[in-house]
Symmetry: C2
Subunit: 218 residues, 2 copies
DNA sequence: ATTTTAATACCGTCTGCCGGTATGTATAAT
DNA sequence: ATTATACATACCGGCAGACGGTATTAAAAT
């Protein structure tokens, strides 16, 4: 294939194709050759020019996946017009309403054959999202009196684990009914920490999402 | 190697060796040849006679890992002398005190290079342990009045996720201090669900375990 | 008790694929 | 014109698994 004046386009093409294949077949079951075959003429040399290993592609793919979400988190975190508790509530609402969620759900990725991708996301949640986005908000909440806890670092982790991992229908299958119940338990848990931030609007959107995902899977 | 009259011994040998190697080097970085080299004369044919794939060995290994733990859970679940809340407390205590824990920690398995094993355990926790062991206890607790919740299935999952996964230093690195704080948050969460079952004895043992694990990790 | 039959335990080689590398070549940038 | 970059191509060692074969045991038949 002819050399591209904007090599970024080639990088993006590789990432697009890889993302799709990783989602459809799982990282481990996607070979470099598979990726090449969907690249429209590009060769192995192109891939290994832009990425140093297959794992490196995975990292880039997950980074791109989380980038948009992190952007949203940063914006809310840095707002000056909300107290800690309100920010948390906003985050829950926005996470659920992000349109990209629909796109991902449409692909209906199979995390069960994708342990590496899952683990990579899990790790990012604990090592990056919790300390850099949720923790500052909890700290603010402690300072402004809207949140009360002695161990905000750990609370941040636990909340994310429950909300982002446990409630994620891509990771753990859930019927609408089960999603609803998880939501109730999560709400109860948050209330136990003084965080009364769930409302019925969120619940509605959540069950809707679960339905979409299940339809696409079926 | 000579044919074994008790083929079970051969199977166990393969599982012993595989378990050790999976823990030391990770599943993905352990080759069939590695396993053969530690089998003391047995060959590739032997392995593929008893197991249909490398993944099949992994499943058998994890089954054996969880079998002992499940045995303990079943015994406590079926006791007639404890109410629901007391059973839960017993489970926490015993999980932490199981001597096998020390052994596993001594090997210091690296789950970071072992996403497949981790995911397999995660799945087992939600699909097997939660519904078959914790749920019946919660139900009993609801019946005898020692536990109160409308959604015991989901509560079982959430408790296990927090206690077995999040608190597991093999999965998420924790300093002694962090372990302590996780323990406090977990205790607070359980209290929020009316489950006041943590005590200082458990905390001591937990920090001890974390120290052992960290020492072995170097 | 001996032979026959069949099932099982195990051996060792071979194959195709896979991730990764080395090297070559054409084109864009300077 | 020179250099740096974007690719292409040929190749490598290692890998999981398949497979044909052999030796041992157990069961059935004689």
């Amino acid at each position: 294939m002819a050399r591209n004046k904007q090599p970024e386009e080639t990088v993006n093409l590789i990432l697009d194709v890889s993302f799709r294949l990783f989602m459809e077949k799982g990282y481990e079951h996607t070979s470099i050759q598979d990726i090449i075959d969907h690249l429209g003429g590009l060769s192995k040399g192109a891939i290994y020019h832009h990425f140093k290993s297959k794992e490196d592609i995975l990292v880039a793919v997950t980074d791109r996946m989380t980038a948009e979400s992190n952007q949203m988190l940063a914006e809310i975190r840095d707002r000056a017009d909300l107290d800690g508790k309100e920010k948390l509530k906003r985050i829950f609402k926005d996470s659920i309403n992000r349109p990209v969620q629909n796109d991902i759900f449409t692909i209906a990725p199979d995390f069960h054959s994708n342990s590496k991708l899952l683990f990579s996301l899990l790790h990012d949640t604990i090592e990056n999202v919790a300390p850099n986005y949720i923790l500052p908000i909890l700290r603010q909440g402690i300072a402004d009196g809207s949140i009360e806890t002695d161990y905000p670092e750990q609370l941040a982790e636990l909340i994310l684990l429950a909300a982002n991992v446990w409630m994620n229908p891509m990771i753990f299958d859930s019927s609408e009914e089960e999603s609803f119940r998880k939501f109730m338990i999560l709400g109860q848990m948050l209330k136990g920490f003084g965080l009364d931030i769930m409302d019925s609007e969120m619940l509605e959107r959540l069950t809707e999402l679960t339905a979409i995902y299940r339809k696409n899977k079926g």
